[in-house]
């Protein structure tokens, strides 16, 4: 077996599991795990957004919750205040998040390292407090519930999130498309340019690359991903709340991304999955379970800098080199 075969098999198994989860999971565990799995998929997009910036372009953002929150509010306000249907509200949420990423990104990506991290926190805090205090529009910390419009309706036929299967598969397909898009971009010349900026930005400008524009485009794509996640989460929970714009949420996404594997495409799903499962299992029985999360982070950073995704890649390479009898593997 070579590396590609093993990876394809792994991804195939993962896709198969995802497609059958609504029927498979209830056979072994409580049915609410289907919802938790949907949640994991949604949140993994926020981790993917952090990972795109940190793992591929070398920018550590502690403010991605801002774009997640705007995706949420776009949907909730769109439905509740503007009477938008499902798709226009979805589009409005993603648009708000992406537009905010363009505006804030234009300023933020002039900076790097801790200055960049700080400005992303500042931006997210500004809008967090705005959302918190602007109650008539946002509902503040009470949040803003809404009744979900149908995804599609024609005559008597109505497809809606009220059907759990529709909800689940809508989330799976949307998240899947986002990863496909991200994977495609990372394999493009732009994706390779991201890596040059992370590796050595001076050399990148000296070979004629516009580093500012490259960083900004990554920032906007990351904002888009976070926005899609937020919009999905709004539909999933039927409400929006400023709580999800707090920098605590951004920080969690950074942790998921690091544990899952910075600079790997699917690492964020692994990291998000592991930590959300941990939270669901432990938080009710052990109040201080976050201590364990802290220990996991420290161990990951020290022993597996590329996270669980990186460990997987190493394991696969090891297995592949074994089965080719220690052949030509570096």
């Amino acid at each position: 077996m070579n590396v590609t075969t093993i990876n394809r098999t792994g991804i195939g198994a993962f896709v198969l599991f995802t497609l059958t989860a609504p029927w498979l999971l209830p056979l072994f565990v409580d049915a609410f795990w289907v919802d938790i799995y949907s949640e994991i998929l949604i949140w993994s997009l926020l981790a993917a957004s952090v990972n795109l910036l940190f793992g591929y372009v070398g920018l550590l953002s502690f403010g991605q919750a801002l774009y997640f929150g705007l995706g949420m509010y776009g949907v909730a306000i769109g439905v509740e205040k503007f009477d938008l249907g499902f798709w226009p509200a979805f589009g409005f949420g993603v648009f708000l998040a992406t537009a905010m990423a363009v505006v804030t990104g234009a300023l933020a990506v002039r900076l790097t390292w801790h200055y960049f991290a700080i400005i992303t926190v500042v931006f997210s805090l500004i809008f967090y407090f705005m959302a918190l205090s602007w109650k008539p529009v946002t509902g503040g910390d009470d949040g803003m519930p809404f009744s979900i419009p149908p995804v599609f309706s024609m005559g008597d036929i109505e497809v809606s999130f009220t059907d759990p299967t529709v909800q689940y598969f809508f989330i799976v397909i949307t998240v899947g498309l986002c990863y496909a898009l991200l994977g495609r971009i990372l394999q493009s010349p732009l994706g390779r340019a991201f890596a040059t900026v992370r590796e050595n930005d001076l050399r990148a400008t000296l070979i004629g690359l516009n580093v500012y524009a490259i960083r900004l485009s990554a920032f906007v794509i990351a904002g888009f991903l976070a926005g899609v996640a937020g919009a999905l989460f709004a539909f999933f929970g039927r409400y929006a709340s400023s709580v999800y714009m707090f920098y605590h949420v951004s920080g969690e996404a950074v942790v998921w991304a690091i544990i899952g594997g910075i600079g790997t495409l699917l690492g964020p799903i692994i990291g998000t999955g592991l930590l959300i499962i941990l939270r669901e299992e432990l938080s009710s029985v052990w109040e201080h379970y976050q201590i364990l999360v802290g220990v996991i982070i420290i161990l990951t950073v020290i022993f597996a800098p590329k996270g669980l995704g990186g460990l997987w890649a190493r394991l696969v390479e090891h297995v592949a080199s074994r089965s080719s009898h220690g052949g030509d593997v570096k």
Partner: protein, 251 residues
């Protein structure tokens, strides 16, 4: 018809606080000869390269590259006009393979803002990076990370990155700095070969190297042009000796 000069440096000053690293330097360089800039430490050589390639903006003065004013242009645009540069401290993309390093430099000429194109299917950059691997003798190392290369190979790769951008002018900042005799000889040979095809300006401490390969030598001291000429003229110049060896009478 007079030919457009390769580079016109017109009364350029670069000051850091009160210190003038370059102090009203004016140099016009013609195409077709290998130029060298030498001078003692702190003469302003690297600062001059920084100002020419755009990594620093001059405090005053103008710079024209092939007749075009590039004084306050950003670095990447100057690169796109056909100027490439290596750095004194070798600078490549350490966690990319040798081929990926060369590939992205080659692709920079065709644009990287193509998020839906598949990188591995882009023929021009693929062919260019393979050809450069071959030319630089790095084919066996093509899939190695740049971080794993020997010092001499990194230097070679850095020159490769510059060449992948199809430059008209190549600025080399101390290309043999830190190299052993064998590597030095190999690199000098490479530079000589390159200079037949593109214009080269080289900064170097090693006088022997300079006198060997440069047709036109500019001596800088304290941010100014002290002398200019062929290797014979420079080695017999009294001012240059004072600049390098110090003037006992004064201090």
């Amino acid at each position: 018809m007079t030919a457009i000069p390769l580079l016109e440096i017109d009364d350029v000053t670069k000051s850091f606080g009160g210190l003038n690293a370059i102090d009203g330097a004016s140099i016009t360089l013609a195409s077709g000869t290998l130029h060298a800039i030498i001078g003692p430490n702190g003469a302003g050589k690297t600062t001059l390269f920084n100002v020419i390639s755009g990594t620093l903006n001059p405090t005053s003065g103008h710079i024209k590259f092939l007749g075009r004013d590039i004084t306050n242009e950003p670095v990447h645009r100057i690169s796109q006009l056909g100027m490439a540069r290596t750095l004194q401290i070798k600078s490549v993309f350490p966690n990319l393979s040798v081929r990926e390093n060369l590939w992205i430099a080659a692709q920079s000429r065709h644009g990287v803002f193509k998020p839906f194109a598949r990188a591995r299917n882009l023929r021009p950059a693929n062919e260019k990076s393979d050809a450069l691997c071959e030319e630089l003798g790095l084919t066996d190392l093509a899939n190695q990370k740049a971080a794993n290369l020997s010092y001499g190979d990194v230097a070679l790769l850095e020159i490769g990155l510059a060449l992948a951008t199809d430059p008209k002018l190549l600025l080399l900042d101390e290309p043999v700095c830190g190299m052993g005799p064998a590597e030095t000889e190999q690199t000098v040979e490479k530079i000589r070969e390159l200079a037949k095809k593109i214009d080269v300006i080289i900064i170097e401490h090693d006088m022997e190297v300079i006198f060997n390969i440069a047709d036109d030598i500019i001596v800088m001291a304290q941010g100014r042009v002290l002398a200019r000429g062929t290797s014979d003229e420079i080695s017999n110049n009294a001012d240059v000796r004072v600049a390098y060896l110090g003037d006992d009478l004064d201090d």
